[in-house]
Structures are given as structure tokens and as C-alpha cells.
Amino acid sequence: MNREHLSALMDGELDPSLETTVWARMKDEGELARIWNEYHLIGDVLREKGIGNIRLGERVAQALSTEPTVLAPRRFGVAGQPTRWLAVAAAVAAVAVSTWTLQRPEASPSQMVARNEVPAESPAPSPPAEAEHYVAMHRQWSPLSGFQTVDYAAGTVASR
């Protein structure tokens, strides 16, 4: 039993015959439960819709657009901790990108700026990113989709 088992369980790739054992061990072992929670926390941070509420994506985008020389941290007066600064920037950028992919297709100009700051992205809009919005609406009516996945934002229905 190790982290790989937990990770595989989360990813749905664990051998079904091992599942019961993993669940049982998690109940008994605090450390395993702690790792499990940690994995979920990471997942939650990366996909948490609430992040949109504090407009983190927009703020990061704005910061990036006014500070284009990301690779020269000393210019920003944080000499002494450049490595940590970069790590934080990378983490924030990762959250910004994942937040953007959860947004609806009609991206605001500031979100487009954030996107242009990421050189690895291809210029064409990614279908899966567009698709999130439709997936959320679809899940409201699918008996095979858990209620957990239903997003309120997609739940507003007009008359008819």
C-alpha cells in the first residue's frame, strides 16, 4: 500500500480487486487518509469553481500583462528570493490556466491576455475547453452522471 495505490484509486485505474483493501486501510491509517485528503485538496484547488468568484484569473492576467518580463525577477525588487518567487508564479500561472479552461467559451479580453502569456498553447481554441460548458449542461440530465458534478452556473434555464 502506497501513494501510487491512492493515486490510482483517484484516477480510476486501480485494480478493482484491490479497492476494498485500499478503502479499509484508509479507514484505519491516519497517514493514508491524510494523503488522500491532500490529493483531493490539490484537485479541488485546481478545479474549484469558487476561484472564479474572487476573480483570481483576471487579477493574475492583469498582473502578467503589466509585468511582461516574468523571467527577470530581480527587476521587481524581490532580490534574495528569486527562486521562490518563480515557483509561486508558476503555481499561480498553473491555477490561472486551469481556471481559464473551466470558464465559459466567451472569454473576456483580460482572460485572452492570460492565454497569450502562455506560449505552449496553440492559437486555435481547444475543443475540450469549449466543451466544459456543454458538459456541465449535459450532466444535469444524465442519470449516469453524479449529482456532485452538476454546476449551478449551468443550471439556469429560461422559460419553456
Partner: protein, 328 residues
């Protein structure tokens, strides 16, 4: 070839298919089995915790269900992720979204949740799946019988159920991909069946909701006249279960959302006004369980999403028509 001969040849060709369609079990037995699964989920009192595993994620929920004097009640609470609560009393369903102070109110029998996945009419399942009992297993400490639903075509995925013995309550549902690999799963991790449930247990956790926003979702199938949008080439066994109109900022007409289901899987078709040049179809698998089709005609953006193989969303997306107008 004369007509009689044609019929004779056709008959011979179809004969094996008909024999195969009968399957190893008599249809009456299959019907009984499906009826028992549906009845158990509706009429048993049970409470427990189930996990929904999909697309590399896992979410747990607590469920309590009762059936008393013909009154069916359900309460479901999510245990991780954003808090969500469903309170269902017969045909009225309230979904609480406490983080955004909103309630979604639905009427009608349109929606089902695990473990109530099977509902009449049962003929549709028999027509489209070969249903057999393939063994026994153990789920959440309960012995259960494993039921395989193998699709009769390549337009839907296979499913495997495990139903409690002897109550027939569904304890586990696995959706299997094209190569028999699990792509989605709902499973109880603990469950108590048959104890008495106090009506007070079905009260919502959220009581101070006077200033919450309430979304009143119209009754499924209530509209007499739809938008005219339809799908000409629907995979066998899929029927339209709902049509809703969704607002789009800046567009008076809004988006038409059609949902088709074969009783297990469902497919959504979205039709919305499009600006810009026509675009060829993009067809791809999203994560592991969903297929996605997107194309733009001269006037419409057509999007199809469903937990079905790529062939199904493609077939649907390519045959969207409007019965009332000259739209393509």
C-alpha cells in the same frame, strides 16, 4: 431477384439476429429482473454512502431513501467538493447550492440518480442490451449478483450492475468502455437496507433560505410545441426526454437543448445561432467517458455531448434538422 425471393433471403439473413436477440434468458425473466431492480430502488428504505468515480475524479455522497404509504423521499448530500443537497419528495425535487445561495426546483419524473438507474418501460433495455446474470460479488459488505448489460450495437457502452441479494437494490454500476475497461462507476461503500427512516431526516440542512434565488425548472415534456429542432438519425432506442431553451447573452432566440436517452445513457444536442463561417465537425473523446461533436453550419452551431461512443454523437450531430423552417 423477384420480391418473394428477396423476402426469403432477407428472412434467412435476419434469422440468426432474431435468435441471438432472444438471448440466453427468456424475455419475461429479464423483464422481471429489471422490474425488481426498479421496484427495489423506489420502494426500499435504505441509507448509506456511495462514491461516483469518473474522469480521474472521485466524489462521495450520503443518501437516505424511504417509501412510506406511497410517499417516496430521497435526500442526497455531497461529502466532498462544493456542498450540494437534493431533497426529493415524490415528483418534486429541490437542489440546494449553498455556496451561491440558490435552489433549483424541478417537477416531474425526468431525472434519476444512482441507485435508481432503471425505470419503466423495460422493453427499451431489452431491445438494446443483452441482459444476463453473470455471477456473484460482494459490495459494501453485501452479497450481490452481477448483471451484465451488453449493447446490441456499437452505439452505446456496456454496463455492469451488482444488485443486493435478495433485495435487488443496486449497489454498484460500472460503465465499460469499448475495450471492456471501466470508464465510470457508482458504488456504495456502506449501506443499510430496510431500517425505518424518520421523516425528520428528510428535512433540508439549509433552512434560512428566504432570500435565496429559486430556479423553477419547467416540467419535462410539458411544452406542447417545441422549437422544431430534431435529430433525424437517432441511434436505436434513444428517445427525446426533454427540450429546454437556454438564454444566450446577446441572442434573442437563445439555445435549444435536446436530451435523448435509451434508459441508461443520455445524449445532449445543443443548437444555437452561430456567427462566422461554417466549420467542419470536430469529434473527440473528452477525458474517458464522454464523446463530443461540434460543427458549424451557415447559421447554427451544433454541439453534441453524451456518455456514448463517438459514432453515436457523430450520427446525431450530422442529422440535426428543423421541422418547422427552412433551416438546414
Amino acid at each position: 431477384m423477384n420480391v418473394q425471393l428477396k423476402h426469403a433471403v432477407l428472412g434467412l439473413l435476419l434469422l440468426p439476429a432474431l435468435v441471438w436477440a432472444e438471448g440466453p434468458k427468456a424475455p419475461e425473466t429479464q423483464d422481471d429482473l429489471l422490474a425488481q431492480l426498479a421496484k427495489a430502488a423506489q420502494q426500499l428504505t435504505y441509507s448509506g454512502i456511495f462514491v461516483f468515480q469518473h474522469d480521474g475524479r472521485m466524489e462521495a455522497s450520503r443518501v437516505i431513501h424511504s417509501f412510506d404509504n406511497g410517499q417516496e423521499r430521497t435526500k442526497i448530500d455531497t461529502l466532498d467538493g462544493p456542498p450540494r443537497e437534493i431533497i426529493r419528495a415524490n415528483d418534486e425535487m429541490r437542489c440546494y447550492f449553498p455556496d451561491v445561495h440558490s435552489i433549483r426546483l424541478e417537477h416531474g419524473q425526468g431525472r434519476r440518480y444512482f441507485p435508481a438507474l432503471i425505470a419503466p418501460p423495460f422493453q427499451n433495455y431489452r431491445d438494446n442490451y443483452d441482459i444476463t446474470i453473470v455471477g456473484v460479488d460482494r459490495v459494501a459488505g453485501h452479497d450481490c449478483q452481477v448483471i451484465a448489460l451488453r449493447p446490441r450495437d456499437n452505439l452505446r457502452f456496456a454496463h455492469q450492475f451488482c444488485a443486493d441479494m435478495p433485495s435487488n437494490l443496486l449497489l454498484k454500476e460500472v460503465t465499460l468502455g469499448p475495450h471492456g475497461e471501466p470508464i465510470q462507476m457508482s458504488v456504495f461503500t456502506e449501506i443499510t437496507i430496510g431500517t425505518h427512516a424518520d421523516p425528520a431526516q428528510f428535512k433540508p440542512d439549509y433552512t434560512d433560505t428566504a432570500d435565496w434565488h429559486v430556479d423553477n425548472v419547467p416540467i419535462a415534456g410539458s411544452q406542447k410545441e417545441g422549437s422544431g429542432w430534431s435529430v433525424a438519425n437517432v441511434p436505436p432506442g434513444f428517445h427525446k426526454i426533454i427540450e429546454v431553451r437556454r438564454p444566450i447573452p446577446g441572442h434573442a432566440g437563445g439555445m435549444t437543448h435536446l436530451v435523448y436517452s435509451d434508459g441508461l445513457a443520455s445524449i445532449s444536442v445543443f443548437i444555437e445561432p452561430a456567427d462566422g463561417p461554417p466549420r467542419p465537425a470536430r469529434i473527440e473523446s473528452l477525458r474517458s467517458s464522454l464523446s463530443y461533436f461540434s460543427a458549424r453550419t451557415a447559421e447554427q452551431q451544433i454541439t453534441v455531448v453524451g456518455e456514448v461512443p463517438l459514432a453515436s454523437v457523430t450520427q446525431m450531430g450530422q442529422s440535426v434538422i428543423n421541422l418547422r423552417s427552412s433551416h438546414p
